[in-house]
């Protein structure tokens, strides 16, 4: 682990976006966009860190990056992924998350609002942007938008374990789910029953009185022994995020998969059945029944194939290739990339990417090497990976 400071001050900022639409009843708690700022005492560069798929701006991964960046002298602003329900409701202009360019535009607009409203004592000398997983791709696209609009004058962008093609990556997670958990309507129920029995037997055999964090940690260690079991945990986590995104998209796009567009659920209504239906639906169904219908209507001339192509990092390929201020970190065993995509990243970024041998997807965030390389990249000290 990289060395870390012992105290990182934290401000929580809740801010309403002027363009926000009326908040649907069931999302009453997501009216404001919530972000977190750790400010230095004096003038300093600002590092904006974007969260991964479906996650808010205060995950444990962000906490690690915040510590490292604050320790290196940055003001640190951590923000949710544009696919996080809180972002979809408070700051998305579409309500239908997953389009790399549109989501990044919304994020760029939100960042301008946030930075304009920061306390005056926070003196910013320069702005860099980074992100992990999908947030990495968002970070690079945000920088490319800024290169044209110039509202924030973002200097450098660092992508940590980014996808190359959004839909190919989530397709892999769908497949992982199908292989490790199953495809039937009762696949989750079967997994749940297995986990329940396992936990109950472990608890019975232990001499603990209550189920607490340390018990769950031990239980996780016994449940997650093989790569397959880790895979199913990753696939399940992704599916649970998708359920929220699917619901929000269906509500906003009025596509009627689970939400009746004319009678959306009220805050007092049970959503158990809706949730049960959604947790059996893969991303491909979100794409076919919510995302594509919505965007095809918005963009005359678009096709499903063009929508998929538009959510590839290729859309900013030229900038990634020619502009020396884009950087990336990846792992050769990252399950969201295939060989061809990793090669594309290497060819496009050249010496501005470092690929570690191990780390999987996000497994090495916070490790000494990852952190020091990231800081070198952000500061413009990076001279290519040691051979």
């Amino acid at each position: 682990m990289a060395p870390m400071p012992s105290k990182v001050p934290l401000l929580e900022i809740n801010i309403a976006m002027p363009w926000a639409r009326p908040v649907p009843d069931v999302f009453w708690f997501d009216r404001d966009l919530r972000v977190w700022l750790s400010a230095q005492q004096g003038p300093a560069p600002l590092a904006i860190v974007i969260s991964g798929t479906g996650s808010d701006g205060n995950t444990s991964k962000l906490s690690i990056l915040r510590g490292a960046l604050f320790g290196a002298g940055y003001h640190v602003l951590t923000v949710p992924s544009p696919t996080f329900p809180g972002f979809i409701v408070s700051a998305s202009s579409t309500g239908v998350a997953g389009d790399l360019m549109q989501d990044s535009r919304d994020l760029y607009a939100a960042l301008q609002q946030i930075i304009a409203h920061l306390p005056r004592r926070v003196r910013i000398t320069d702005i860099d942007v980074l992100g992990y997983s999908l947030g990495g791709a968002n970070a690079a696209v945000v920088k490319s938008i800024d290169a044209k609009e110039g509202k924030l004058k973002i200097h450098r962008a660092v992508m940590i374990d980014p996808p190359v093609s959004l839909f190919a990556s989530v397709g892999r997670l769908d497949k992982l789910f199908a292989v490790s958990i199953g495809t039937g309507d009762d696949a989750i129920e079967i997994l749940y029953r297995k986990l329940y029995a396992e936990l109950a037997n472990l608890y019975r055999a232990s001499d603990r009185v209550q189920i607490d964090e340390s018990f769950l940690l031990g239980a996780a260690a016994t449940a997650l022994k093989t790569d397959e079991e880790f895979s199913s945990a990753i696939a399940l986590a992704f599916r649970l995020d998708l359920v929220d995104m699917f619901f929000a998209g269906d509500l906003y796009a009025r596509t009627g998969v689970v939400v009746d567009p004319d009678h959306p659920p009220k805050v007092s209504d049970s959503l158990e059945e809706t949730q049960r239906i959604l947790r059996n639906k893969p991303f491909s169904e979100y794409f076919a029944r919510v995302f594509a219908p919505y965007y095809l209507k918005q963009r005359p001339g678009a096709t499903s194939a063009s929508l998929i192509a538009d959510s590839r990092l290729d859309i900013i390929g030229d900038s990634l290739r020619d502009n020396p201020d884009y950087y990336a970190q990846s792992n050769s065993d990252d399950l969201i990339l295939d060989k061809r995509e990793l090669t594309w990243l290497r060819d496009t970024l050249g010496s501005r990417i470092v690929v570690y041998d191990h780390g999987g997807h996000l497994g090495n965030i916070g490790e000494r090497q990852q952190v020091s390389d990231m800081l070198d990249m952000l500061a413009g000290r990076w001279r290519g990976a040691a051979q």
């Binding site: 808010d56 490292a68 260690a221």
Partner: protein, 283 residues
């Protein structure tokens, strides 16, 4: 001034600070260095637990001296659906709790968390020590006398050597706390959890555990150690206890942003209790 009035004042004051479009709040700072150490520790614990598991399930059986229970099978797992006949009321209460937490409870506990941690753990230990009395009663009622004796021992040691409960000396004598309550006693007696219940200010519970909570409070009130529960200080004490409890729970309403949070919390809470019940029958 009555604490209830104070609470209202704080709520109004906070409401006044929050403008329509933006609010900025200081929240407890992070300590990545310590978190790093904790993460390394938990990774080690994880590895140790995994190694133990790798030794085989036989080790578990060997430790067990009691008559073997048939293992719980996936078929024994309760359905994923929840028994929640009071759902409308519960959802209302959940929402109320979320708002109350956001405007009063959480801001106050965030201020509380700025107090140096030795003082806070003193407060925490003090209340924990008082509740040992309830644990002694309930372990006795559950006929788990060894654990009851442990709680009694903890209470005696901490009340004396631990300066009235401020220091958890007993934990250093290898007597770590293991609180129990009337909800668990009812479970031991075979009472099922019953419907899910969201208790105002308190949060997720079940009908059985709700009665358990009343019984726990009732017995502490009846015994009234040091006139702390019925005397003039009881309001302050109750408030401090509540804030201390809140500051030690790492939960933020709607931090998941999910429209299914009510369902998710209910699911996890009820499963946790059911597993504890199932475990209780084997102990």
């Amino acid at each position: 001034m009555r604490p209830a009035a104070l609470v209202v004042l704080i709520a109004v004051a906070l409401g006044g600070c929050v403008s329509q479009s933006i609010s900025i709040r200081r929240v407890p700072s992070e300590n990545p260095a310590a978190e790093n150490a904790a993460a390394a520790e938990s990774a080690a614990a994880f590895a140790a637990a995994a190694a133990l598991a790798a030794e085989g399930e036989t080790a578990q059986g060997a430790r067990e001296s009691k008559p073997a229970q048939p293992p719980i099978t996936p078929a024994d797992a309760p359905s994923m659906a929840s028994y929640d006949p009071f759902e409308r009321l519960n959802r209302f209460t959940y929402r109320f709790n979320a708002r109350f937490d956001e405007t009063v409870f959480l801001p106050v506990s965030n201020v509380y968390r700025r107090i140096p941690s030795p003082i806070r753990s003193g407060v925490h230990n003090f209340f924990g020590n008082l509740s040992e009395v309830d644990s002694v009663i309930n372990y006795s009622l559950q006929w788990r006398l060894k654990l009851g004796l442990r709680s009694l021992g903890r209470f005696v040691i901490n009340s004396t050597l631990g300066l009235g409960g401020l220091i958890d000396v007993a934990a250093k004598f290898k007597l770590p706390g293991a609180p129990t309550g009337a909800g668990t006693t009812l479970a031991k007696w075979g009472v099922r959890p019953g419907p899910y219940l969201v208790i105002p200010l308190l949060g997720p519970s079940t009908l059985r555990d709700g009665f358990g909570f009343l019984a726990d409070y009732g017995s502490l009130y009846a015994i009234d150690i040091g006139r702390l529960y019925r005397g003039n200080v009881s309001w302050w004490l109750g408030g401090t206890n509540a804030v201390d409890q809140r500051a030690n729970v790492d939960f933020r309403y709607y931090s998941t942003g999910s429209p299914f949070e009510y369902e998710n919390v209910r699911f996890l809470y009820v499963r946790k209790r059911l597993i504890e019940d199932a475990g209780l029958r084997g102990k």
